[in-house]
């Protein structure tokens, strides 16, 4: 076990190192056939990320196409109801396409455009990243192919149709568990095969370096805005941050700009599915162990033979056996706490926010809300929690209705 560093002395901007390592996590575990493509992506991103022209293009799209900054909303009634800390919602659900995913897809699609790639591919679980990719592909006039597990195609039908309307081709993946991890496998295979003309837009902070860093950088706009908005609205930094963690892109986007503020407590909320003890969950940080999957070393869910095991969550976007490597590192060094909530608890979060604040949250985000329901009452009314409302719940109403025995 590596020694745990002093959190106050870490220069958070030095991570990952030049080879993509966050401590022992991250890195680039890819087949040789992809190494050249990864290298040229790394070079393109390095040269563009500090380019004022590229940044201005990105910022312009975030402002006028996505609608940023997204509001930081004081959920006063819900805060009162829970009887503890003040709860502030970072309204990523109000972004164009209804979730935080669009921040990253715009960044990567602009990169693809600068690299001269005409074809983009993406994997998707809940469909939000697929919709966001199809959206930006439509706007930039790029061919777009989205890989999606068969099981997810069935449970996220509205998003599948949205992608088709936007001109993307949705390819159902029938291998393995037929969910997000299998869609990722299939997208990797596509990338290897059509490597010259294809840009692979990975939707979360996973994959080989530079993806975890690059996706984090594009999503960090969430945390930068939240930090500023919090200072403006409350005059100080929040006491706690809460976000759901599947691959972990909305969470790292909120957390990263606060890492140096070590008084701000950080909570990442994984999907406990039927309960961590049942084995039917998607909580690698809470119940998994370090391994190598999809291009990086991170906490994963596998069996004693090293085979990846099937995950379960009511939320398609959290149904993934791995997690971004930076989260693994933040867990080990103790900067962030990772907890989990069950499907049932997430449903309480879903209904709670819907009824009390008039905001229908995505099932993914409902996991973060469910943890806030536990955390807020343990804190005092003069303390503040910022929770990332990463997406809206319109896509989930069929799932929720079905759980209540209603057919729409």
């Amino acid at each position: 076990m590596n020694a745990i560093p002093d959190l106050h002395s870490i220069d958070w901007n030095n991570f990952p190192d030049k080879n993509g390592h966050f401590g022992q996590y991250g890195g680039c575990f890819a087949a040789e056939t992809l190494m050249e493509a990864i290298e040229s992506l790394r070079n393109a991103y390095e040269s563009l990320k500090n380019d004022p022209g590229f940044q201005a293009e990105f910022d312009k799209d975030l402002a006028h196409y996505v609608g940023r900054p997204s509001p930081l909303y004081h959920a006063e009634r819900w805060s009162r109801e829970l009887g503890g800390a003040q709860i502030y919602l970072k309204r990523e659900d109000l972004n164009h396409t209804g979730a935080h995913k669009i921040n990253n897809t715009i960044g990567q699609a602009l990169l693809a455009k600068h690299m001269g790639k005409k074809r983009i591919i993406a994997e998707t679980g809940a469909g939000q990243h697929g919709v966001a990719s199809a959206t930006i592909a439509a706007r930039l006039g790029l061919e777009c192919i989205v890989y999606m597990g068969e099981l997810d195609v069935a449970r996220q039908a509205p998003n599948v149709y949205r992608m088709k309307l936007l001109g993307a081709e949705v390819r159902p993946v029938s291998s393995g568990s037929k969910t997000l991890k299998d869609a990722l496998n299939e997208a990797m295979r596509d990338w290897v095969t059509y490597v010259d003309e294809t840009f692979y837009i990975i939707g979360t902070v996973a994959g080989p370096h530079p993806y975890p860093m690059m996706v984090r950088d594009f999503q960090s706009v969430i945390g930068r805005e939240a930090r500023e908005q919090c200072l403006t609205q409350t005059g100080r930094l929040p006491d706690a941050l809460v976000a759901c963690v599947g691959g972990g892109s909305n969470a790292i986007g909120l957390f990263h700009p606060f890492l140096a503020d070590t008084d701000v407590k950080i909570y990442g909320v994984e999907a406990a599915g039927d309960g961590v003890k049942t084995g039917r969950h998607a909580a690698p940080l809470c119940a998994g162990e370090p391994g190598v999957l999809h291009g990086n070393r991170t906490y994963i869910m596998d069996d004693s033979d090293g085979q990846i095991i099937e995950t379960h969550s009511v939320s398609a976007g959290l149904d993934y056996p791995g997690v971004g490597p930076e989260h693994s590192w933040l867990k080990d060094i103790g900067r962030a706490n990772y907890v989990s909530v069950t499907d049932d608890e997430a449903m309480e979060g879903f209904h709670g926010l819907t009824r009390i604040e008039g905001i229908i949250p995505a099932l993914e985000s409902s996991h973060a809300l469910a943890y806030v329901m536990k955390l807020a009452p343990t804190m005092s009314p003069d303390q503040n929690i910022v929770v990332n409302l990463s997406g809206r719940g319109d896509k989930d109403i069929n799932t929720v209705a079905a759980l209540e025995g209603i057919t729409l």
């Binding site: 680039c28 575990f29 040789e32 393995g176 190598v292 596998d302 033979d305 090293g306 085979q307």
Partner: protein, 268 residues
């Protein structure tokens, strides 16, 4: 001398090219694998490439993916694969066996325990598809300490500078992936392969194997003229796929395919 070096030396002296079939261990069931390995040697195989089943074979096409899924129905794990090699070695101490798979099963066993166990079982080389040399120092060190060859891939897109690095870390032989894409892909341009191999030979003296896209005697013969080893994967695995309930047919059809390749390669 390692079994792989001895094998390539002997073939070179005879002016022959190595024929290297790939099967996933445990496909269609674990009892077939060892008899199949012997049968492949009897029909002209010089080196056996044994796939270690993995739940998420990202660099493989549908044929090998399905093969691994069949093997995983029987929970064929890395320790079972090592047991199969041990059993194979009872009758065959000469034919090199190379494991081909993904990193996570080795991570789970631990690099040093894996290298020790593989060496004791009689494994000669290990190719880990998702482990580029940059991340491979610790595993390669453990393998070197246990007289195992670390085998690495070179792709059509690999630039010369990387090739140098890969040749430095790799041993036994280098595996040239003759096509962009996953295993089981279709179109093989032999002239392009010949050019690429000539370039690789200007960088390293290691024997060069060529895999991806070799599906019949004709393509095996063409590649054998320029390579030191011809690696046949999906074409073999397809014989298992189409005869999954019939062990005798699996042995017969794979034997016939290899014998035809062997004969063609030796007389061309």
């Amino acid at each position: 001398m390692s079994r792989l070096a001895a094998c390539f030396d002997k073939l070179k002296a005879e002016n022959k090219t190595a024929l290297v079939p790939y099967v996933a261990a445990g496909d269609p069931n674990p009892s077939v694998t060892v008899p199949l390995m012997h049968h492949m040697v009897e029909n002209g195989a010089n080196i056996i490439e044994l796939g270690v089943p993995f739940s998420d074979p990202m660099a493989d096409g549908p044929t090998i993916q399905l093969s691994m899924e069949r093997a995983l129905v029987h929970h064929t794990g890395l320790h079972n694969v090592l047991d199969m090699v041990k059993e194979f070695r009872i009758k065959d101490q000469e034919t090199p066996v190379v494991l081909m798979g993904y990193l996570n099963p080795i991570e789970r066993m631990g690099y040093v325990p894996f290298a020790e166990a593989a060496s004791i079982a009689g494994v000669d080389g290990v190719l880990t598809v998702d482990l580029p040399p940059e991340e491979g120092c610790d595993l390669v060190a453990a393998m070197n300490d246990n007289a195992l060859n670390g085998i690495f891939l070179i792709a059509p897109t690999t630039i010369n500078e990387r090739m140098g690095k890969i040749a430095e870390v790799g041993s036994g032989f280098l595996y040239y992936v003759s096509l962009k894409g996953v295993t089981g892909s279709n179109i093989l341009d032999v002239d392009e392969v010949a050019n690429k191999l000539a370039n690789i030979r200007s960088i390293t003296d290691l024997p060069l194997g060529v895999g991806f896209g070799i599906k019949d005697a004709e393509s095996a013969i063409a590649v054998s003229k320029v390579a030191d080893a011809v690696i046949v994967g999906s074409a073999i695995v397809k014989k298992i796929e189409s005869n999954a309930d019939n062990e005798a047919a699996i042995l017969q059809e794979i034997g016939e395919l290899l014998a035809a390749m062997r004969q063609g390669m030796d007389t061309a």
